[in-house]
Amino acid sequence: MAAHESTFQPTSRTGKWLDERLPLPRLVHGQFVDFPTPRNINYLWSTGGLLAFCLGVQIATGIVLAMHYVPTAADAFNSVEAIRRDVNYGWLLRNIHAVGASFFFLAAYIHIARGLYYGSYKAPREILWILGVVIFLLMMATAFMGYSLPWGQMSFWAVTVITNLFSSIDAVVPGLGTRIVEWLWGGYSVSSATLTRFYALHYLLPFAIAGVVGLHIWALHHVGQNNPTGLDIKSTSDAVPFTPYATIKDVFALSVFVLIFTWFVFFLPDYLGHADNYIEANPLSTPPHIVPEWYFLPYYAILRAIPDKLLGVIAMFSSILLLLFVPWLDTSRVRSAKYRPLYRLFFWLFIGSVLALGYLGSKPPEGAYVWWARVFTAYYFLHLLVVLPIVGVLETPKTPPGSITEAVLGKAGKAHVSTGGKS
């Protein structure tokens, strides 16, 4: 882990005894109390803690929901209704879990956008970033399979549409795509067998996520946190101990996040969902418009923007997989967009494109909607494949301050703080 001296002093005899055998308290103390945190990080750095919280909430509520849920095509919808109506506080658990998925993605998108803005993927944080993309992919798989479980109309048809995407492989290897789809379904159509296997995987994957999150945090604590200046910690005055400084900041951020979360859980539980999912799944009746949950809309728009099915599927998957290469696609030596005026402009164009794609993904794929989706899809890929490498070379970045302390206090303040003065 990070190279800082441990100041952990076990006081009790049991504490000393344990420290010599399994220094777990020392590890926790070193990583979550002493850990040097850049003094200038803003509230966007609280999203990591929020995400850990979201994962915990989803696992805790999910386990209890699993005690009441029945993963068969005949009873899934009824069991969710029984949870809403008859299980003690079942409505609350179910609302927290459903709204929780949305807020998990909300926090993840802000977290990813922060990384892109402040160049948090640059050396030495490439592995940290890649682990993040892996977590994101696992989250998407988990959320997709979780959305199938209520077995409403949208659940059923979303599963049908998305699993059918694999049949596009038939265009390359005839028959292979169909085989993969049948293997995913466990039969020749989306059925009870599909639901049961998705349920099993939906229960499994969160623990895989927790494992990768462990690696993500390990990598983070090994290289240290990035910060708005993108500068490394160079002196003790650049950093503050994680506890109490980052802890109290993160806990305050969490309380605000949970406040908004609560608003949705108690007063808008269905706002982020689709009314059609309160209609029991019916293989014989296709809803007029099949739309995924909001957090998949940008990718859905990319999929539908491309007229060829196979190419659409490739574009959709590569839009996410490309993120893995961002550390090498960005050629700039300066990390933070704060000192990169040109990149900053393109960054906001990119965010705007993703938002626009989200809006277009909710619209029917026809007329002007398709054309705009093509424009923004084009920019999405241009940004990652062309803008990132070229702007890094062409742009003359502004000169970042000499140190984090200087960025916070100005040149004059440096001596003031390093002598231990209180300001």
Partner: protein, 295 residues
């Protein structure tokens, strides 16, 4: 830190706004563009908003309307007789519902000869469906359409919007801040009030009915249940028996049926919000105090 605090907060706010924007853009407006739609006006409901509660008397009237005008074709299979007694609902007395249940017949457990005979329903029984199966339900309709179960209808419908894209974020913020969850109720209300004579050039197919709230081409298999007009159903509490009252009351009843824990949800929600608000304020001052040592 002070100098750049503004920009930083700005970036954070923008990102959050952007993310919330995408978040909410999803659900609405999916069906609108293809089918076209009529503007569905928002109604005033006693159960909307932060402090919303069901009006017990209205739920009782709504239940009467359901039984007399809807129940012949539409079931409420997820509602048990006991639900009509439970808090947060119509609040009938146990004795009232016990005697009501006795008028319904349900399948008993197989007897010693293995025959399934009927018995009177008890509080724990679900409302028996009006038809044995979907095929029987279809064949009993002139249009041949399946009358859906109404237990969830007020949640399973929504109001679609065709607002231009630049209005969408504002609309979403308005709905989020006002806690608008009554799209389903508004739609069902508009549908039940929407049986109007068709416009001149429109020919309604045989056994179909024109309804202006129903998605284009506005033909539904369901006939107007209140075609007899005012006075069709006699209210026991002196409320005027008008069609508008029938519709409002039955929609309130169906909204409760789709969300019987609404009152408990809002009551606990207020407590949680208050608790979190105080916690957040205290944490904010704790944070400022701790960080004042480094600033």
């Amino acid at each position: 830190m002070r100098a750049t605090g503004g920009t930083r907060a700005g970036v954070a706010a923008l990102m959050l706004a952007a993310a919330v924007g995408v978040a909410a853009g999803a659900a609405p407006a999916a069906r609108a563009a293809e089918n076209g739609h009529v503007e569905i006006p928002r109604q005033k409901w006693s159960f909307s908003g932060l402090l919303g509660k069901f009006d017990q008397a209205q739920l009782q009237r709504g239940f009467k309307v359901y039984v007399e005008a809807c129940a012949r074709c539409h079931g409420i299979k997820r509602i048990a007789f006991r639900n009509l007694v439970q808090p947060g609902g119509p609040g009938f007395s146990e004795a009232q519902i016990k005697s009501l249940a006795e008028t319904y017949k349900v399948d008993a457990a197989p007897n010693e000869q293995g025959k399934v005979v009927k018995r009177a329903a008890i509080l724990s029984d679900l409302f028996p469906p009006p038809f044995k199966n979907d095929n029987e339900a279809r064949s009993a309709q002139a249009s041949g359409a399946l009358p859906p179960d109404l237990s969830l209808i007020a949640r399973a419908r929504s109001v679609e919007s065709d607002a231009p894209f630049y209005r969408v974020p504002l609309n979403m913020l308005r709905d989020i801040f006002t806690g608008y969850q009554e799209g389903g109720a508004d739609y069902v209300y508009a549908f039940l009030e929407g049986f109007k004579p068709p416009p001149d050039k429109v020919t309604v197919p045989k056994n179909m009915n024109y309804n202006e709230a129903f998605p284009k081409p506005h033909f539904t298999g369901m006939p107007n249940p209140f075609v007899a007009g005012d006075g069709l159903i006699k209210y026991d509490d002196g409320t005027p028996g008008t069609v508008d009252n029938y519709v409002r009351d039955v929609v309130a009843f169906l909204s409760w049926a789709a969300d019987p824990k609404l009152e408990e949800r809002k009551r606990i929600g207020l407590l949680v919000l208050g608790y979190l608000l105080i916690t957040a304020i205290l944490l904010y001052f704790a944070k400022r105090r701790i960080w004042s040592k480094v600033h």
